[in-house]
Symmetry: C2
Subunit: 444 residues, 2 copies
């Protein structure tokens, strides 16, 4: 299971950093367990690894198998939580070069998560001459970015295969009962999967939202859910040795001591998008009412040669949370160089992972010496089970953290602000007055 090493944060924390938060953690635990705290209607993720819909789960796997058989590419239409979780898991467990690699499973393209014309045209070029399917993921079906992309890729499918076959290549992950996409899916007869009411986007990776693309990448869903279930059981047990309690309490204590920024640190390029998923999870859950740690991320050792200087000697505003996977999947031995041109023969014959391990250990001490507390989150081998554990660990600790911070960790009231302005500026019917006011400000 996930373990926490706080040895390199302890000197920055008061002696009672954990015990003084015990009562609040226990209250938070009960609120998550019973769904009766702020945002309690959105705690469906808490027991998801136990209570998930087994029938739908089997359908997801079957749909993935069909896509693997009839498609060279899957186009995933979704934004925010409707793509970050899937992309995070696919990159972490397969590779950020997943689409480049030789493999038995389809390429996966994530679209509808922005408004770049050039990125859209590029993806069209990459898929249009190949057999492909579309997984459109949207609770409402009316969010601008995915809705526009779905119009386009639906048309592409219909042009390529005709309306009937296109319908069989569209998988709609949407509200169970209502909404524009639900209505269309019912009418057209798309295979449908559910975005549950009780689970917000950023907590949805282990629902159909994340699982269908993840399964198409050939990732073992049972192992992933199994890992999450293990974490669910372990982290439900109250106590000061609970790693989620420790993580939530340590980051809250560091926040209260004046740190404004948490840096999630990974040592694998494949971890980059998992960090993006984490940023949404924590930033959107905590960043409200003028509160919350600013979530940022780095990829070491690469970024030790870019952000490293700042972390070592810049403003002392951050702490680091380092995710460390035990052992690499593969192994590579550093070759000997008879001429020892680079002076590194003292490493010859050693595994590269040994060098990486020492780089991590050395960095943690260096940064601690520079005044940056380090929390180390130790995970096992980078496989499905471990990633399932890690997802649940971060989700559960996020729920606890939000309650320690005394916010509703499950809403996102600030996300509407840009949308309203955008709708008005786009000339959406009903926004005429706002449009005039905004244009006046922009031109004034």
């Amino acid at each position: 299971m996930i373990q926490l090493d706080l040895n390199n944060a302890a000197s920055f924390l008061s002696q009672d950093w954990l015990t003084s938060r015990q009562d609040r953690l226990e209250k938070a635990r009960v609120m998550l367990e019973e769904g009766n705290g702020p945002g309690g209607d959105f705690t469906g993720w808490v027991h998801l690894p136990r209570d998930y819909d087994k029938v739908e789960f089997a359908r997801i796997q079957k749909a993935a198998d069909k896509i693997c058989t009839d498609s060279q590419a899957l186009v995933v239409v979704g934004i925010g939580g409707s793509y970050l979780g899937a992309r995070a898991v696919v990159e972490l467990l397969r590779s950020p070069n997943y689409n480049l690699k030789k493999k038995d499973t389809p390429d996966i393209y994530f679209v509808g998560n922005g408004l770049s014309t050039d990125a859209l045209i590029e993806t069209i070029e990459l898929v249009k001459d190949r057999d492909f399917s579309v997984n459109v993921i949207s609770k409402s079906g009316t969010t601008t970015e995915p809705a526009v992309a779905f119009r386009i890729f639906k048309s592409l499918l219909e042009e390529k295969y005709g309306k009937e076959e296109a319908r069989r290549r569209i998988y709609a992950t949407t509200d169970a009962h209502k909404g524009a996409l639900k209505g269309l899916a019912d009418k057209e007869g798309y295979e449908e999967f559910v975005v549950p009411d009780a689970i917000g986007g950023r907590f949805s990776v282990l629902t159909a939202v994340g699982l269908l693309p993840i399964a198409v990448a050939g990732i073992d869903l049972n192992a992933l859910m199994g890992g999450a279930a293990e974490a669910m059981e372990a982290l439900a047990v109250p106590g000061l040795d609970n790693p989620a309690w420790q993580y939530a309490a340590a980051r809250h204590a560091l926040y209260e001591s004046g740190k404004s920024t948490e840096l999630l640190v990974g040592y694998e390029p494949s971890f980059r998008f998992f960090a993006e998923w984490w940023k949404q999870l924590y930033g959107e859950s905590e960043g409200k009412e003028g509160k919350g740690l600013f979530p940022a991320s780095v990829e070491f050792t690469a970024d030790l040669h870019s952000m490293g200087q700042y972390i070592q000697q810049g403003q002392r505003i951050m702490f680091e949370s380092v995710v460390s996977f035990q052992n690499s999947l593969g192994s590579y031995t550093i070759p000997n160089d008879p001429e020892n041109v680079d002076g590194l023969n003292f490493l010859s014959g050693k595994p590269l992972s040994f060098v990486a391990e020492q780089a991590m250990r050395g960095t943690i001490l260096a940064h601690m010496d520079g005044g940056v507390p380090n929390i180390i989150i130790k995970a096992d081998r980078r496989d499905e089970r471990t990633v399932g554990q890690l997802i649940y660990f971060f989700e559960y600790a996020c729920g606890l953290s939000g309650y320690l911070l005394e916010v509703n960790p499950f809403d996102q009231p600030g996300v509407e602000a840009y949308k309203k302005n955008m709708y008005a500026l786009l000339g959406k019917p009903g926004f005429e007055e706002q449009k005039a006011a905004l244009e006046a400000r922009l031109n004034g």
Copy 2:
């Protein structure tokens, strides 16, 4: 040329934010111009777009042509400034999916910028059965990450082609006179390019360090350098309407007013690594002596659905610097949907870029209303000339910014700390005592 729009930052700045910094900016300008300020030995980039070595420039283009002829892939070995600039420009001008796209130029793989065993093995798999060349970029030749990677890819080349042909496929970008890699390159007869003494890694993208990989991607070096030269001329002119003066002064004023974090905002997925290059440039130049803005980045509109909540309502510690390219390269018209399922027919027939433009305008106002100052950096069409301008703009403004902050913007003393610890823990000869001490702390 690059232009600054400060209308959405003005209300957060005192009336004299610019005039009160005029004298300091003028002093900074002179120090950059004459190379006599702190770190003045590393201001070779200031006149580089005029003074660059035209003979070497032609050799770079010729080497790139050879690589395009005899290689399906180029492996670029380098860390920090020895890969970020090239990767940033290749992604921004070609695509983050450059390696996936059909094209006339070789794939490019960046290695030696970390210690991940799995990423290394993956890249070996991706290139070993194809014709490839190696560009090793290291001033010393002894930095651990690139040195280890170079050992491995040099061996691969030698196994594949024999020693003699391998030599013709290795391009060494290194010190002009000394160092391990220089010695090896001389002895083996590699084609050599120069990492200039007077230009630090993070300012080196327009030297051979960046230009060879950039040229291999089919990017027009003359246009890129031409854009940089235009910016050099324009930004050398002192005055309060100089956009680099404005950017340096505005961010310094916001820093002094209490903002700790600068978010670089792009609206194109292809901008993601340019933002990483920018983070190194500013973070490493300013993050010292407990000072400096923490550099972070987001990709909109995608991240409006992840980091957007925090930016709108979290701690009020940041401002945004938005890089806005005028017009997309391509154009795509939003199709009509007779049934208007998503309610977006008010956009039918409009170009997608219009929607993106309104999203940006709406977001800037929303964030400003949320207490986040917005600086808008307006660039022309996303082409070589504009990117050359943008690179020089950020470099020059960074030099000014460092001097306003009263640091040496051209050193990076904090980068050594992790290296020393790592060497000791790895058992490098000469570090025995430190090793024992560090192990004791780690086990303690």
